[in-house]
Symmetry: C2
Subunit: 128 residues, 2 copies
Amino acid sequence: MIVVGYTPDRYGEAALDHGLAEARLRQTSLVVINSSKGDALADQSFADHTQLQKLEEKLADSGVEHEVRQIVGDEVVDVIIEATTAPTAELLVIGIRDRTPVGKLLMGSTAQRLLLSCRKPVLAVKPE
Amino acid sequence: MIVVGYTPDRYGEAALDHGLAEARLRQTSLVVINSSKGDALADQSFADHTQLQKLEEKLADSGVEHEVRQIVGDEVVDVIIEATTAPTAELLVIGIRDRTPVGKLLMGSTAQRLLLSCRKPVLAVKPE
């Protein structure tokens, strides 16, 4: 099982694309996690109904066995790390930001915490 | 081609093991990079003759097509990133430290710079 940390933006899409490729390569399934700690309606990283529908369509088209988990109320990092502790979880895929809006090289804190906390290998990808 | 950032310690060994597994899975070759900016004799991350011999033996036993590059005088990050810019390079594998000697969660600056600078996917692994 491949776990993907998903956000409805180009970072999440990059993670999803690579996650699908890895699932095909390893002939395994995909779990896509989209999570929000608090007010999901105001959280840009939480997929709305339309975005979720597009995500489901893309996953259905891929032919890869999959599951989408939308979770509200817990820390995003905790939700994702929890999923990677499953014995069948072999890889976590995340999209990482490499520059701040002013162009400085800086990793997001969520990405950094996932990289530090995950005991399984983490594949960090960037949008093309 | 899979690029591995190698140091003669458990982090480098974890990267090497995962690099070999990925090379087998993707049916491609492995390039193992061990580099030191300055005085290689005093640099713990630079493999000595015995360590290099063991590395070569392990690679030979693996049956995976491989190349070891030991480079002195340039920034480690620059040397590794340069290797990943090859059109055939599909993945960089690095071992990451997650805790400082006092147990604080903190990523090494080399790992962080590699994750930020590499345009190809980076697989970050930890020793078992």
